[in-house]
Symmetry: C2
DNA sequence: TACAACAATGTTAGCGCTAACATGTTAGCG
DNA sequence: CGCTAACATGTTAGCGCTAACATTGTTGTA
């Protein structure tokens, strides 16, 4: 019945030196050793030096897991993107990373593969790591995920597009971007423009651009048409798209591609086939990737400020994390129509 | 003198539900609730279902920080790369990420910006998070960092190039890759090849390729020359490199670029200027990026299996993490000379 | 029938750190 | 010189979870 006092159990996790050992060596209590690292101004200079020396001698590496549990704060920023194959997200990550790393935060990277169920699972995991903030690409989430994000009491940043966000939002208006390009095509006198995208089912931001495109065409009395390729966006897909477009709709005079990968592929392919651009067919893209701007004729496209999205999102979050009240929850980073020689 | 028993202090970290609350609701002890999640086979099905229901009702999110401290294991894989601007590293990350995420690990991403002091700091931080393993690009580290990695009792994987590694190593032989391309150029009859790189000081793998290149040229009785651009590698830099090369060494008959970005830029620029490739000047690269293979004339380059590096590294690490003894510490993923029409 | 082997669950004691409070020590000042 | 404020350091008790061992009941089997 009675539980006999069992012999003491020992369980040292790793054999790494601990703060207590450092403290002992320096002849102070462990809280002083802790403060020597985390609140140096609260410790006498000489004492602090002794502690730091002891750390050095022991090869002490702070156990951040323990610290995080005790303080219920980690210095993680969860970043969730739908794909790593797409330069666009990489550049956003780059912007986030450089700003956060400088402020002493770590990036926890998650990839949803365009699956919002996976996003939900990642959000749970990252919340479990008590991340300080979450950044996620896009406004689409499962209901459960939205609930989780709303109730998690941490800043949540949704990037890429603008809309009805949960908390903070940095991005651009993709419908408006679609409109801008379509307007440009209509203004230039193209009368049978075609919108060509790859895997539009996944890429709903491209769908939004198409919506803007369609709107303008209808307003101008033309009937919008879309051609969907089932390959992933790539140079080859763009080349194939050009051929299919001209075969299936021989009177097409302008192709508005969903992004620059497709558009550049089409443009290079047109050069190769001797199709004159823009005389025989105009080509336009979206993103403003370096390749499109390097080719002759230069690609007409829309510059999306991806690095800016990352940096601005990071700055806003840092403000919030430092306790400052954020006045604007939404930031439109805009876009720029780059008129090249392909339209 | 005597410490009076102070009133009990309370300190709830967050107001998230805890395992204990879940356990209470399900009418079990917290260890059973824990096992319901982490070792389901050790819990009766009916009990487990009660626990899971309770978790659901409370909106329980496991505190992974606490779990990690208690078990002194995290499911983090630290990945340290020198840059996110370079596709090459992104593709390695992609390979690592897809394999590890499927196995239930999280990626902790660090960027050194080609600074080994920063690498050292990142390693410390990541070790502090008790990551399960570390992956780092390259074999160059500070002495302190090397010591840390050697003593950390966790699998360490060095990727990209082969050499005298700390623990595990997956990569390819860059000197040999440089030799292979130089041999190809010599075999094709080029007699005044030039090696052109960007920021070679940072990019020591490119330096290794140059070493291989130089070796072959010397063996063939030619004198190797290198032209270093001070811009970052890009299409523009490649174009500039082509012009500078032809201006400064007018008799150059082949340019061996340090990578495909430069080579593709040069190739497209040559087309634009009407310089015939390879008749007037041959162009070769390294990496096998899609653009080079898409252009006509197709770029002669070396395919580096970046995705494979990531996947293989991840697989080997998983083996190790599952306790299997790893027999081979080093894996040469090789490379493939892609002979295009530009040489 | 006794006893091992297993399955299901519980008890206890940390993991290594920091928040919250307490205490001692020195400086500042009328 | 007494009192307070500011500084420097210490004590205690967790943070939420899981390892290690303990306990019970159930089954198989020699």
């Amino acid at each position: 019945m009675s539980t006999h006092p069992p012999q003491p159990r020992h369980r040292r996790g790793s054999d790494q030196p601990t703060l207590a050992q450092v403290a002992e060596m320096a002849g102070v209590s462990s809280i002083t050793a802790s403060r020597a690292l985390n609140a140096p101004e609260r410790v006498n200079d000489a004492t602090r030096q002794r502690v730091l020396d002891a750390m050095d001698r022991l090869g002490y590496v702070p156990n951040l897991v323990a610290g995080s549990l005790a303080s219920s704060r980690s210095r993680f920023i969860a970043v969730i993107v739908p794909s790593l194959a797409n330069t666009v997200f990489i550049e956003v990550i780059k912007g986030l990373q450089s700003t956060f790393e400088a402020a002493g935060y770590q990036i926890l990277l998650g990839n949803t593969d365009y699956d919002i169920e996976r996003e939900h699972r990642l959000v749970r995991t990252f919340l479990g790591w008590s991340c300080s903030a979450l950044v996620t690409a896009g406004l689409r989430h499962t209901d459960a995920c939205r609930k989780l994000l709303k109730g998690c009491d941490r800043p949540v940043m949704e990037v890429m597009e603008l809309g009805d966000a949960l908390d903070l939002n940095v991005g651009l208006d993709h419908v408006e971007a679609g409109r801008a390009m379509a307007r440009h095509l209509v203004d230039r006198g193209y009368r049978r423009p075609l919108f060509v995208g790859a895997r539009l089912g996944d890429d709903y931001r491209a769908q939004m651009r198409y919506r803007g495109h369609a709107e303008i065409l209808e307003a101008a009395g033309m009937s919008p048409t879309v051609l969907e390729l089932d390959q992933l966006g790539s140079l080859e897909a763009g080349a194939a798209g050009l051929e299919r477009a001209r075969r299936e709709t021989p009177d097409v005079d302008a192709i508005h591609f969903a992004n620059d990968d497709l558009a550049s592929g089409a443009l290079l392919h047109a050069l190769r086939l001797g199709i004159r651009v823009p005389e025989e067919v105009a080509i336009a893209g979206f993103n403003g990737l370096p390749l499109g701007q390097f080719i002759t004729p230069r690609l007409t496209t829309i510059q999306s400020p991806r690095d800016t999205i990352g940096r601005l999102a990071a700055q806003e979050l840092l403000q919030r994390l430092e306790g400052k009240r954020v006045t604007r929850r939404q930031h439109d980073v805009g876009f720029e129509l780059l008129i090249g020689d392909s339209t």
